[in-house]
């Protein structure tokens, strides 16, 4: 064992000395390789953490949402539908939800107005509870500053800020403006007999399908959205194969794959000569291959470790500053959130396999050919 290790260490020494001769080229290769791993690993860690966060947080979302569809679009639903749904056996509670969007021309931001379901969180008349990002968007600098909103020119509605929600929940509440039902209806000028949609609480989760079938017969024009569908939407949104990763890193990975394959598989004349000399002075084919394996491993494992460690720091210690502008897009309001660090072992192993193994394979194949050929022919 000791002898084996001494031999391997000698081979590694030789490999490093050989790599050192083309120092700039190899260092830039490791830098680019690490950068690609960094981008992919950041996207993976970020989306896995967001996925977990969405899963945990949306666990308390309404079990079933009933929307009215008119001409393919979501419409206000009549209050009478609440009673229709409440009469279905197995339904525990039915509540009309009131929520809508408000474009604030003075800050250019979109707010989500909402009436909380829980009376404990419902603000008094003329009061609002704001999400963490709204005072930021409006520059409400001092404590107790009121919120003025203008629906059209010449119109100004004043709300007292009763509370600003903690930034701990920014991911779900950043743009919220919570008001009571009367204020909501008068602000948006809607009648007392309509809701945005209806949330249904169900006694036994396994009955959702049966209840939906019954409700579909009673409200044929409605659309039903279950909690499972809401969670699935987010799983799909943050799936690293679909949204984030493809958008962020797809092109970069492809470019690097071409670059690495070219670098690793095309053997330069100098390298071929080197192998010829080694063979001529008595190196075995096995030694040459072991040396190249060391080279591939040092480059790819090094890049993997550098890239992943940096990605972890980027996503969980610094709050993914490189992704923020991409995710932010054109929106004025963007939640300031910190994700719970989460490392998915399977994803990391996948990343290891898709970065290290192909690189080592690409290094080995041409060497195999050169190393098994006659040294005299290679050196000529």
């Amino acid at each position: 064992m000791k002898r084996w290790w001494r031999r391997q260490r000698a081979l590694a020494d030789f490999t490093l000395a050989a790599l050192g001769r083309r120092r700039t080229k190899n260092l830039s290769l490791i830098a680019v390789f690490s950068l690609v791993v960094f981008v992919v690993a950041s996207a993976m860690l970020f989306s896995a953490a967001l996925k977990r966060e969405a899963d945990a947080v949306l666990e308390s979302a309404p079990e079933l949402i009933v929307q009215k569809m008119v001409m393919g679009r979501h419409e206000m639903i009549e209050a009478s539908a609440v009673e229709v749904l409440a009469d279905i056996r197995g339904v525990m509670g039915v509540k009309g939800r009131l929520w809508g969007y408000f474009y604030d021309a003075s800050s250019g931001a979109n707010y989500t107005f909402m009436v909380p379901e829980d009376p404990a969180l419902t603000p008094g008349p003329g009061e609002v509870i704001l999400g963490e990002a709204v005072p930021r968007a409006r520059n409400l600098g001092w404590e107790g500053a009121p919120l003025f909103l203008s629906r059209r020119s010449g119109d100004l509605v004043k709300f007292e800020v009763a509370q600003v929600l903690s930034s701990d929940s920014a991911l779900v509440s950043a743009d919220l403006v919570l008001v009571n039902e009367a204020d909501f209806r008068s602000f948006f000028e809607i009648g007392a007999d309509v809701f945005t949609d209806i949330s249904v609480t169900i006694r036994n989760e396994r009955e959702i399908d049966t209840i939906m079938t019954k409700a579909e017969k009673l409200l044929p024009a409605a659309r039903f959205i279950t909690r499972a569908e809401i969670t699935r939407t987010y799983q799909k949104l943050f799936s690293w194969r679909e949204g984030l990763l493809v958008a962020l890193a797809g092109a970069a990975i492809l470019a690097f794959a071409i670059f690495a394959a070219e670098k690793a598989s095309g053997l330069s004349a100098e390298e071929a000569r080197e192998i010829g000399v080694l063979k001529a002075i008595g190196w075995d084919t096995r030694d040459v291959i072991a040396m190249k394996l060391w080279e591939g491993a040092l480059v790819s494992v090094g890049a993997f470790l550098i890239g992943t460690v940096l990605a972890y720091g980027h996503v969980f210690l610094m709050g993914a500053p490189l992704f923020a502008p991409v995710l932010k897009g054109w929106s004025v309001i963007y939640p300031e959130f910190h994700l719970a660090p989460y490392v998915d072992g399977l994803q990391l192993s996948t990343l290891f396999l898709i970065t290290v193994v192909p690189y080592m394979a690409a290094t080995l194949v041409p060497i195999w050919r050169a190393a098994s050929a006659d040294p005299d022919r290679i050196m000529r």
């Binding site: 947080v57 969007y101 379901e117 919220l176 004025v332 963007y334």
Partner: protein, 110 residues
Amino acid sequence: MSRRPTGPVFAGFGGLALLFVAAGLHAALSTPGHAERMAASAQLVGQVGLTDLALFTEARYARHPAMADLHTAFQDNPMSFEHFPSGTFVPVTEDLGRGRLGFSEAEVSQ
């Protein structure tokens, strides 16, 4: 002891491996604090009756992807692929309805 090139390089690898393990430890140790925060967020979701994350606030279908109109992403203009950058991340909703047509109830439920 001769100066071998593997010495500092192996030490560097050792350092990186330590950082790698430290990242794992950091993740494990900070879980309880974050679990508390997530529980508070989940409570808020329940209290207000929220359905979506406030990650993209620029368009209706990006703010509430789970509640958006069916196929909203490409609805507005056939040649406009996407108005907003966030459209890149927000895919078409999973549930596009039952998608069954028939002349009778029995035929549809087949």
